[in-house]
C-alpha cells in the first residue's frame, strides 16, 4: 500500500516520505493544537515540537493505520505539557491578561468553539478524541491509559458543560 510504503521509507530516515505522511495530518494537527493553546503562536509551537518528537520516534509506529492516532497522542501530550509549563512557571506580562481571562466566569455568549477551548483539560481531551478524531470509547481509554468508565464519565460531563451554553438543547453527543 502507498501509505505503508511511505511509513517504511520514513522509518528508514526518508525525510520526504515523513513529510508526505505529515501532509495528510497537518491541518488536523494544527486545529487540535489550537483547541488546547487558544492562540496561533502557541499552536504552531506545539505542532513544531510534535513534528520533532514524531520524527525521532517514527520507528516505534508498527503499522500505518496507527500513525494518525500515534501522532495525535504526541500532539496532545506536547500541548498539555506546554500548557502546564506556561501556567506554572513563567508568564510574561502580555500573557497575564490572557490567563486571567481564562479563569473569568464564562459568559453564555461564547460560541461552541470557545466553549470547547474553555473546557477543563480532561473533558476537552475526551471530547476532541471522540467527536473530532472519531475514536471509540475503548480506543480513547487505551489512548489515555485510563478505565473506560472514566472516559464515559468525562465525556458525559464535558458534554453537560457544553450544554450549559445551550440551555434547553438536547444533548445527543453521548453515543458511546
Amino acid at each position: 500500500m502507498f501509505g505503508q510504503s511511505l511509513l517504511k521509507k520514513a522509518q528508514k530516515g526518508h525525510r520526504k516520505s515523513f513529510l508526505q505522511l505529515i501532509e495528510v495530518e497537518k491541518v488536523k494537527l494544527y486545529k487540535m493544537a489550537y483547541v488546547y493553546m487558544k492562540n496561533e503562536n502557541d499552536a504552531l509551537d506545539v505542532v513544531q515540537e510534535t513534528i520533532t518528537r514524531a520524527y525521532i520516534k517514527i520507528e516505534s509506529v508498527k503499522e500505518e493505520q496507527y500513525f494518525s492516532t500515534w501522532l495525535m497522542r504526541i500532539l496532545i501530550n506536547t500541548a498539555v505539557e506546554m500548557l502546564r509549563r506556561n501556567a506554572k512557571v513563567i508568564v510574561l506580562e502580555n500573557e497575564i491578561g490572557e490567563t486571567r481571562a481564562a479563569h473569568l466566569p464564562i459568559e453564555d455568549k461564547l460560541d461552541l468553539l470557545t466553549a470547547i477551548e474553555h473546557l477543563e483539560e480532561k473533558y476537552k481531551t475526551v471530547i476532541v478524541l471522540r467527536y473530532y478524531q472519531d475514536l471509540a470509547v475503548k480506543d480513547i481509554a487505551d489512548f489515555l491509559n485510563c478505565p473506560e468508565g472514566t472516559v464515559k464519565t468525562n465525556l458525559h460531563r464535558g458534554i453537560q458543560k457544553l450544554k450549559e451554553f445551550y440551555e434547553g438543547g438536547k444533548v445527543s453527543g453521548q453515543g458511546y
Binding site: R15, F18, L19, I22, K26, V27, Y30, K31, Y34, V35, E40, L44, Q48, I51, T52, R53, Y55, I56, K57, E59, S60, N77, E81, R84, R85, A87, K88, V89, I90, V91, E95, I96, R100, H103, D111, L112, L113, I116, I127, V128, Y131, Y132, D142, N145, C146, P147, G149, T150, K152, T153, I159, L162, Y166, E167, G169, K170, V171, S172, G173, G175
Partner: protein, 430 residues
C-alpha cells in the same frame, strides 16, 4: 445554534472553523525537522502510563523531597503541626536546608481571605526550591521569577501533601535553563491562586548552599537484553545522587527500559527527576535520586526490560473497610492486598502490599492503582509511597455517597535481570 441542539457534528464543525495559517504551519513543520538531536524534558503523567510508555515520562510524577529541617523548625512553632514529619518520608531537602545559606522566609501573603505562607527558599546550584504552607490546597499560578532584576526561564514542578492538621504543605522546584550566580536577589510574583486573581510579590537575597558533591569513578559498562549501556556520571551530594547512563539503542527500545538504583540493603533510591537526550543510535538518561546516608557502602544500578502489554486487562474491586484484607489479582505478577484503612482529619490512608517478589520502584512505578468513586472521579489525595519492601500507602478522600472502586490491571511477567546489574563500591571514596 446557540439555543439549539448540541450534536456531535456541531463539535466537529466548530473545530473545523479554526482558520489555518498554512504558510506558517508549513514553516513550523520544516523547523520541527531541523533539530538533529533532541533534549526531551519529561512530563507529568499518571502512574498507569509508566507501564505502557517511555521511561522518560516516569520522571516528574515521582516527585521530589520537600520537607526541610528549617521548615521543621518553623512549623514546630505551630502546636497544631507537631509530628508532621512522621508522615513525610522524603529526604533530599532535609540535608540541603541544614546549610546556613538556606533562607527561612516565613512570610505570609494574604488578600481577600486567601493566604499563602512562604517558608524556605534554597538554591543548590541547579535547583531553586520554594516551600510553602496553605490552609487548603489551591494551585499557585502564574509565577513570575526575576533574578537580579531579570526574568528567568525554567521548568517547574509542584508537589505537596496534606498534613495531619489539615493544612497543605508544598514545594515548587525550579530548574532554571541558564546557570544562576552563587549569590543573587530573587523576586517572585504570584498573580493567581486557585480562582483568585492576586497581586503578591516578595524578594529575598539567595546564596548557593554547599552540597558537598563527590564524583565517583565512571566508565562501568553493562548489557541489558542485548543493549549496551555505560555509566557516564555518578555523583553523590547532600541533595541527591546524580547518575548519567548512556544506552546504545534506538528510541524504540528505550520505552521498555526501567532502571532502579539500590543501596546495599536492597532499598530502591526514590527518583526525583529523569531527563533524557539522544538520537537514533544512543540515548543518555540523567537520573536524579534522593541522597543516601553515609553508611551506604555500595550502589547497584539495576536496569531491566518491562514487557509490553498487548492487551490491557483491568481488574476492579469494591473497597469495603469492614471486609479487609481485600485481595486483587494482578495476574502473573501476584496479588495486590489492601490490609487496612486509617482515618484522620477526614483523610483516609489505605495500606496495601504486593505479593510478588520483585523490586518495584520506590513509588510503585511498575504497578497501577486507581481509587475512584462510582462516577469515576479520582479520590487519591497523596500518591503512593513505600513504607517497607513492597508495602505501600496512599491517601484518599471518601466520597459522600456510593462505593469506592479500586482499579488495577494485570501486569505482564517482569523479571529482574541480575546479569545486567552494575555494583559500584563506595567504601573507597569515603
Amino acid at each position: 445554534m446557540k439555543e439549539g441542539k448540541l450534536v456531535d457534528k456541531d463539535i466537529k464543525r466548530a473545530i473545523d472553523t479554526i482558520q489555518v495559517p498554512m504558510e506558517k504551519l508549513d514553516n513550523a513543520i520544516e523547523n520541527g525537522l531541523k533539530v538533529p538531536k533532541r533534549h526531551v524534558k519529561p512530563k507529568q503523567r499518571r502512574a498507569l502510563t509508566l507501564v505502557l510508555s517511555s521511561v522518560v515520562t516516569i520522571s516528574l510524577i515521582i516527585g521530589l523531597g520537600f520537607i526541610s529541617p528549617t521548615m521543621a523548625r518553623v512549623l514546630s512553632n505551630f502546636p497544631l503541626l507537631n509530628g508532621i514529619f512522621e508522615t513525610i518520608d522524603d529526604s533530599s531537602l532535609k540535608v540541603t536546608l541544614n546549610d546556613k545559606n538556606s533562607t527561612a522566609l516565613n512570610k505570609t501573603l494574604t488578600s481577600n481571605g486567601v493566604s499563602l505562607t512562604i517558608q524556605d527558599i534554597v538554591f543548590d546550584g541547579t535547583r531553586l526550591t520554594i516551600s510553602y504552607l496553605q490552609e487548603k490546597q489551591a494551585e499557585i499560578y502564574p509565577l513570575h521569577i526575576e533574578v537580579n532584576g531579570e526574568v528567568i526561564n525554567s521548568s517547574g514542578v509542584y508537589r505537596g501533601e496534606y498534613l495531619e492538621s489539615g493544612k497543605f504543605v508544598g514545594v515548587i522546584e525550579f530548574s532554571p535553563t541558564e546557570q544562576l550566580p552563587d549569590d543573587f536577589d530573587l523576586l517572585v510574583k504570584i498573580h493567581q491562586i486557585g480562582d483568585m486573581v492576586v497581586d503578591w510579590q516578595f524578594n529575598t537575597p539567595i546564596t548557593n548552599v554547599n552540597i558537598n558533591s563527590k564524583k565517583i569513578a565512571v566508565g562501568q559498562k553493562g548489557e541489558v537484553e542485548g543493549i549496551q549501556y555505560e555509566v557516564k556520571k555518578l555523583e553523590l551530594s547532600d541533595t541527591g545522587v546524580s547518575l548519567h547512563v548512556l544506552f546504545h539503542t534506538d528510541s524504540n527500545q528505550l520505552d521498555k527500559i526501567v532502571l532502579n538504583v539500590l543501596d546495599d540493603n536492597g532499598k530502591v533510591l526514590p527518583i526525583i527527576n529523569i531527563e533524557g537526550q539522544g538520537d537514533e543510535k544512543s540515548f543518555l538518561f540523567e537520573y536524579l535520586m534522593e541522597p543516601i546516608g553515609g553508611d551506604v557502602e555500595s550502589l547497584t544500578i539495576s536496569p531491566f526490560f518491562r514487557p509490553s502489554i498487548i492487551e490491557r486487562k483491568e481488574v476492579t474491586a469494591t473497597l469495603h473497610e469492614e471486609q479487609l484484607p481485600l485481595t486483587i489479582s494482578q495476574g502473573k505478577m501476584g496479588d495486590l492486598i489492601v490490609t487496612k484503612i486509617e482515618e484522620q482529619n477526614g483523610q483516609h490512608t489505605m495500606y496495601y502490599k504486593l505479593t510478588r517478589a520483585f523490586t518495584f520502584g520506590a513509588r510503585l512505578q511498575q504497578s497501577y492503582l486507581a481509587v475512584e468513586d462510582e462516577l469515576g472521579n479520582n479520590l487519591v489525595v497523596t500518591d503512593t509511597k513505600t513504607i517497607a519492601y513492597n508495602q505501600y500507602k496512599l491517601v484518599f478522600t471518601k466520597p459522600a455517597q456510593g462505593d469506592i472502586k479500586l482499579t488495577t490491571m494485570e501486569l505482564p511477567m517482569t523479571k529482574k535481570d541480575e546479569n545486567a546489574q552494575i555494583t559500584v563500591d563506595l567504601s573507597k571514596t569515603k
